[in-house]
Amino acid sequence: MFRKILVAIDGSPASEKALAAAVDLATHYRAELTAISVAEVPAVVGLVDEVDELRQNAENHLREIGQAAVEYARSRGVVLRSVVVRGHAAETIVHYAENNAADLIVIGPHGHSRITRFFLGSTTDRVSEHSPCSVLIVK
């Protein structure tokens, strides 16, 4: 049923559950599995160097998370490709799913802090609203 699965990871406990579920599904359906992490940089900044530092930190952090995800999947006998993409989380996940013809997005219920969710809304809500394919929210 599912041939291309995209799982969103950000290092939060919720995204670890999503990864575990995605690996199980990929095993079951023998699906191609990709993990996506989105490096977000605040747009309102005072200094160019600050942008570079924030970007570099976010990308390095997510690279480590991606490598850990690849290792985890491999320990379960699943081949996982991990990518780090720049952008806004929800928009980028949906965009990547569209461009790569994913037929399932697996995502945790939340990754942001409560305050961020309150002001900006949940990434999961926006992904499920705009996704071109099925979305599995793992709780």
Binding site: V44, D49, E50, V51, R63, V79, R86, G87, E91
Partner: protein, 428 residues
């Protein structure tokens, strides 16, 4: 002396708090420092008003804090100038010069005339208003473009080059509008010309010779040049950020190959100097003035947006950007933050504007960092594929026969990919 340590402890504590908040909520540390400064300064005023615990509550910058804050603003400006890509500026000289100049001139004139004839500010205050609202935030534009990968495209480089021209207009106006036109200005201009002419070759040689020395003679030499020009600028009642920005521009090509020096300089600036600058800028904002000036804040923000539109939009059409990119560019050129606060603080420190006018201007500047960015990103963001910056490709899973438990082994390899989206857009 003990009192100095107490003051330093309080200020560094506030800077530390701002760092924690910015890291925890992924916000700009510069913005958070301004906001922490506003909160702390006004809280201190409130506590002092009620003589809480019978103590005197005061958070005003004393002489040495004012000096550190001023030094912070000079280095901020210098580093902003040094970030320009000279090759991009040369490649898009005509377009960036036209858009950048219009982006400075239209809001400068528009906001100045509005402040003078509608708000009734005196000429000096009106000029400060025009200068503070003429800025474009290179950092905000860069952050937005990094997200889409547009900074790697011709289109992005053109816009960034135009931002530098706008900021040059801002520091130039600060430098010339309030200067004393006498022998001291002539001396300052002559020395600045000689320094700017000699600096690139001399600094390149100096860094080749001494860059790796542990006592950082290269950094000291940059400070020496900046202090000297700042002293001359101050004597002629010009503004020290003008030579700092020009030295930064002149040395951009040299510093492009001195990333280690820039990194060490940045550590000094971010850890010790800019917190004093941004906290100080925030502390001078008087919150009650914002309520009474709320209408003016909204109108001045609109004045900035409209005058930027008048200046920038027709030129983007002239240079055959597509319609979406015209609006996107115009809105990005309407952002502002660091140079806006530097201009307003210059006005307050020199008595050209009062605290109420300063408070209004700083809030308009902060709003101009947020509102146009949201509008641009929500409605006019170019349709480019988000850049994949890291791709970790797994090696094939191998079952090792010699493994005692038949464990799966193998290693992962990571590849860094930076996609470069489309080049300069054309009329569609």
């Amino acid at each position: 002396m003990e009192y100095n340590w107490e003051i330093a402890t309080v200020w560094m504590g506030l800077a530390l708090l701002a760092s924690f908040v910015s890291i925890r909520y992924k916000l700009s540390v510069a913005l958070v420092e301004i906001l922490v400064g506003i909160a702390a300064g006004n809280l201190a005023l409130l506590l002092d008003y009620y003589h809480l615990f019978g103590l005197q509550w005061e958070l005003k910058a004393n002489e040495w804090i004012a000096f550190l804050a001023g030094f912070g603003s000079i280095l901020l400006t210098f580093m902003a100038g040094a970030e320009i890509e000279p090759a991009a500026l040369r490649k898009f000289l005509k377009e960036s010069l036209a858009i950048g100049t219009a982006s400075f001139a239209a809001p400068f004139v528009g906001a100045m005339l509005f402040a003078r004839y509608v708000s009734g500010w005196d000429w000096n205050a009106a000029m400060i208003c025009g200068i503070a609202l003429s800025t474009t935030s290179v950092a905000v534009v860069y952050a937005v473009m990094i997200e889409t990968g547009l900074n790697e495209t011709d289109f992005g480089k053109l816009i960034l080059a135009a931002c530098f021209i706008t900021d040059f207009g801002t520091v130039f106006a600060l430098g010339v509008c309030f200067a004393n036109y006498d022998w001291s200005l002539v001396l300052f201009v002559l020395v600045a010309i000689v320094v700017l002419w000699l600096a690139p070759r001399f600094v390149r040689w100096f860094f080749t010779r001494y860059a790796t020395h542990v006592s950082e003679p290269g950094v000291k030499m940059v400070f020496f040049v900046l202090f000297g020009l700042a002293a001359l600028a101050t004597i002629s009642r010009s503004e020290a950020v003008l030579p700092a920005y020009m030295v930064g521009l002149a040395l951009a090509g040299v510093f492009a190959h001195q990333r280690d020096t820039i990194r060490r300089l940045r550590t000094t600036v971010f850890a010790f100097l800019t917190p004093f600058y941004f906290l100080n800028a925030g502390m001078k904002v008087f919150l009650p003035a914002l309520w009474s000036g709320l209408g003016l804040i909204i109108i001045l923000l609109l004045v900035k947006l409209v005058t930027k539109f008048i200046g920038v939009y027709p030129l983007t059409r002239y240079f055959r950007f597509n319609n979406r990119d015209c609006h996107y560019t115009t809105l990005l050129m309407s952002t502002g933050l660091t140079f806006g606060t530097i201009s307003a603080l210059f006005g307050l420190n020199n008595g050209y504007i009062d605290q109420e006018q300063y408070s209004i201007l700083v809030v308009v500047v902060i709003a101009s960092a947020i509102v146009p960015t949201i509008l641009a990103q929500t409605f006019f963001k170019p349709d480019v594929e988000p850049p994949v910056v890291v791709a970790i490709e797994p090696s094939p899973v191998v079952l090792r026969a010699d493994s005692p438990d038949g464990a799966i082994t193998g290693s992962t390899t990571s590849t860094v990919i930076v996609k470069r989206p489309s080049s300069l857009p054309t009329e569609q």
